[in-house]
Symmetry: C2
Subunit: 375 residues, 2 copies
């Protein structure tokens, strides 16, 4: 349903539009002048003029509506701007409009019987609708198990590339998770891996992780998933001081072997500039000695124990056995993953992995038409 503009008013420093659903949008003169369509390149649609290209005190002296829903503004310096009404509505910055544009994740707990959402390999590979449905699950719930994977070590990568190119790391473009001699990483042992996010030692850890199970014969090795966004909301409710510390005090993380020494320092709970949850960064294996002001040492350890207790609470864990022919896919910066210890002498266990970043996932969702917020 197209909205129409039912009234307009020119204020001292803004124009106010009233829409057919009753919403009132106020656009400051400076905002309108800055967004005049003439300031953009005709082919790239990128901006050419910047904020020094116009008089910031320019005032709209006349506003007119066309039958086609365009808003024409005449400025006191003679310039004219013509805005599309739908475009203005989509970019309204009143508090209600800004709230409506926020996509909230669907957080989840766990417990006995809980399992991850599922999607089918062939549907993802064969149609854009299948791919989009899968990506919306990942975006909203942060994880998905893909069934019916071909018995081919390249099948996971082929599916990931339906989204975009892969994110390379010091472990390569893709990697094989098996118990190895002389491991450079605890993942390459048969040890339990408590729930963690991968590569917390990087400024931007990889976004989406793909773990295709090719062989699952070794006793043990059950998969564990924990929604980190749920866990930190539980923490915020129970222990707001711990949440505050873990979202402001940085931890150091490091991976090093003979070829690499990659380190980053950031809080466990990453918030964006609007205060929303952006990422969880927790990898005990890579955690370096705490390097904070002495008076924070005991409170920060206390806060970390409180969070780890929530993460380890079985009520927050989804536990399941990943079978050969299945691929676990998850948002590595939201959903913590782990595995039980396994017995490498009791049978083989082999996973193939790769990563695609969040920017690429979100771009693919937008291009496939699943999101229509700021077209």
């Amino acid at each position: 349903m197209a909205l129409t503009i039912t009234a307009h008013e020119t204020l001292d420093d803004a124009i106010q539009l009233t829409w057919s659903d009753g919403r009132e949008s106020r656009f400051h003169h400076v905002w309108l002048r800055d967004n005049c369509p003439t300031s953009r390149h005709a082919e790239t649609w990128e901006r050419v003029d910047d904020v020094l290209a116009y008089d910031p005190e320019a005032r709209a002296i006349e506003v007119a509506l066309s039958a086609a829903g365009e808003v024409s503004v005449t400025w006191n310096d003679g310039h004219r701007s013509c805005f599309d009404g739908d475009w203005l509505r989509r970019h309204c910055y009143c508090e209600a409009a800004r709230r409506e544009r926020c996509l909230a994740p669907v957080t989840w707990a766990g417990g006995p019987g809980a399992g991850p959402p599922r999607a089918a390999h062939d549907a993802i590979m064969e149609s854009d609708a299948g791919l989009l449905g899968f990506l919306e699950i990942l975006r909203d719930r942060g994880c998905c198990v893909v069934d019916g994977m071909p018995d081919d070590p390249k099948a996971g990568e082929a599916l990931a590339k339906r989204i975009a190119y892969l994110r390379e790391t010091n472990f390569g473009v893709d990697f094989t998770v098996v118990s190895k001699p002389n491991p450079n990483n605890n993942a390459y042992t048969a040890l339990e891996l408590p729930a963690h996010t991968d590569l917390a030692n990087r400024e931007m850890p990889p976004g989406v992780q793909f773990l295709h199970c090719l062989v699952s014969e070794a006793p043990g090795g059950e998969s564990v998933l924990v929604d980190g966004f749920h866990a930190v909301e539980v923490l915020r409710e129970k222990d707001p001081a711990a949440f505050e510390l873990l979202s402001s005090v940085p931890f150091d993380y490091r991976f090093h072997d003979t070829e690499w020494d990659v380190r980053w320092r950031a809080p466990v709970i990453g918030l964006d500039a609007d205060g929303a949850l952006r990422e969880i960064r927790y990898n005990n294996a890579l955690r370096e000695p705490l390097n904070v002001s002495p008076e924070l040492v005991k409170p920060v350890y206390r806060a970390l124990r409180a969070l780890v207790a929530v993460i380890r609470d079985p009520a927050n864990e989804v536990r399941f056995r990943l079978a050969a022919g299945e691929m676990l896919v998850f948002h590595n910066r939201r959903v913590l993953h782990g595995r039980a210890a396994f017995d490498p002498n009791g049978g083989a266990r082999e996973l193939h992995g790769c990563y695609v970043d969040i920017d690429e996932m979100m771009s693919r969702i937008r291009v496939l038409g699943g999101e229509n917020l700021l077209a």
Copy 2:
């Protein structure tokens, strides 16, 4: 010079060591217990035990020093920990030690006659010392021009790969900057590009940019560099309120064509959790309509104009003509780059570009031995 421990004292919740240079290091019991070497895997040296694996109230009841500089701690639960003295000193978290471990960038202004630092292609390619010297210039000053590049479109990529694998983006693993028909980006026109950072529309814009000049015959097209860290320090001095707004209020950036729609929202001035400058993110071409609380609109525009005026001040610009056979390399998230308009009918202009991220650059510096802060 190896430091020795000259005294030790067991306090209520910490042990205190005094070193031969007079420094006193206080390590909380919980910090020591958390960092007991027995909590790590013998081969990967990654942590196995986490913060729930020990009693957080454990107390050191006996501390002994060995002649070899080791510090042995006996805990009230019977556990014993043995720490290397040098390791403890490197991880001391008193305020003085924490300050000493911060690497400050060497910021710079510009003005007539100012030029970028330089390095030689062959030295970088032929020796680790040459590579390390070049990387230290990039780390500290944020830019460098490499002379003596072979006349080969792959030469820039070959040099970048001395550091690590490349960062792929929607523009590919590498890209060619020429004036094109039907451009999807202002870089692919002959327009002036005012100083900007690339791909501000990504969660983590590429770190180090390589621009190898193969042909430079078109009139115009001079290169411009501005140290963004210098610019925002100038802003902080002149207009602290503008600095505060630009480091806290997010801007939206977006690139879209028929294949991609990549968006991110973050402040222009990115600070780390310790309050230090982490990145500058400013690309007017990709800047979307401001989407902030209405009362912030006018102050944020005012702040952005103040910053752009500093960036455009010729006293802060380094301007030079990049010649064929030279490669401009810069920290894309610190140093803004631009070019004057050029005349595509007056001759050819062709640059080949690629990116390597900051994590990989810093890792290479550490592995080559140029940094020795937390060995």
